[in-house]
Symmetry: C2
Amino acid sequence: MMERREISRAVIERLPRYYRYLDELLEEGVERISSGELSRRMQVTASQIRQDLNHFGGFGQQGYGYHVPYLYEEIGKILGVDRRQNMIIIGSGNLGHAIANYANFERRGFIVRGMFDIRPELIGTSVRGIQIRAMDELEDFIRENDIQIAAVTLPKTHAPEIADRLVRAGIKGIWNFAHTDLTVPPGVVVENVHLSESLMRLSYRVRSMEDGGQGSAD
Amino acid sequence: MMERREISRAVIERLPRYYRYLDELLEEGVERISSGELSRRMQVTASQIRQDLNHFGGFGQQGYGYHVPYLYEEIGKILGVDRRQNMIIIGSGNLGHAIANYANFERRGFIVRGMFDIRPELIGTSVRGIQIRAMDELEDFIRENDIQIAAVTLPKTHAPEIADRLVRAGIKGIWNFAHTDLTVPPGVVVENVHLSESLMRLSYRVRSMEDGGQGSAD
């Protein structure tokens, strides 16, 4: 595998999208694809594709195109989806349920082992075979089940306190849906999904389109 | 108001986060804040803040700091959240319910007028007062209720066809949660929330942290 350190943040941000397209190509039974054809599908320039995939050390042979299964596998390794990762979901509201029900995550190796909630009436019930547990079981469960990732779907008032507990119990990655930023020590990463902010970006782009712009500020 | 055209995409991407912090400051009753104090709260450099907010034409007076209510209002105008925007949700699964139940969007002027689903048993029921309707009412509802934005929470197989119908009925912005890219004509914008890709970015960062990196590739 090539030197991952050399891949820029911008390329990393784009890798999951490449992975998704490669997955679709595999489903269609496509073995090789040229940068030109991939460019047409993904609606990015062929030179951008060549530049991005160059980081992977010459998978694309001149005149032969990219070998789809190999590229898919290598990008999967970089993204860490070539191995099983245990996950829990904190909060079993609609968003927690949506994540628990999203079977596609399992194909990527993310296995939801448990859900946690404070509402007594939900504890003991389950979602797609995943049991909802009481918050006081949290630390033991994380340790006993080798949990690396926690999805936090809580109101912003509760999220920071729970994040602290998750970190102390050994969680390495927090997938944060709470409408607040979480502070974590070095060695732990937070990936935010701030839906309000996403909706405001959409709103900005709609507005700037109405004003005769291009819907973005590039 | 200043020239919006001059604001770069990167700054626009950061504006919703500023807006969120300014909102919190207002809730705390803070009227003025220095770039240094805002820097400490937001964990970005003071020079980044000065650079970003400079686009707003000197709100921050040397020695006085930023006037929070004014900055909040001006950023709100740019984001288009100073006016009411009518929205619908396509798909009333867990994700559709999560969006419908998120009252915070209303504070930003986004009003969910209706939800749509193909499942007969759900049609006619409602979520927080929002009625679930049949898909064949879609076009008329959009036109009669001045709907600008549609959140699409559908499997990827159905999303492109529905996106076409939304566009033909006059929708200006699609908030896309389907695991696929949507092709729309000029004049319509798509903002994607690809949860799988977000989870893979988290996974990458956890993995690179384990390998002794910084959890990102900056």
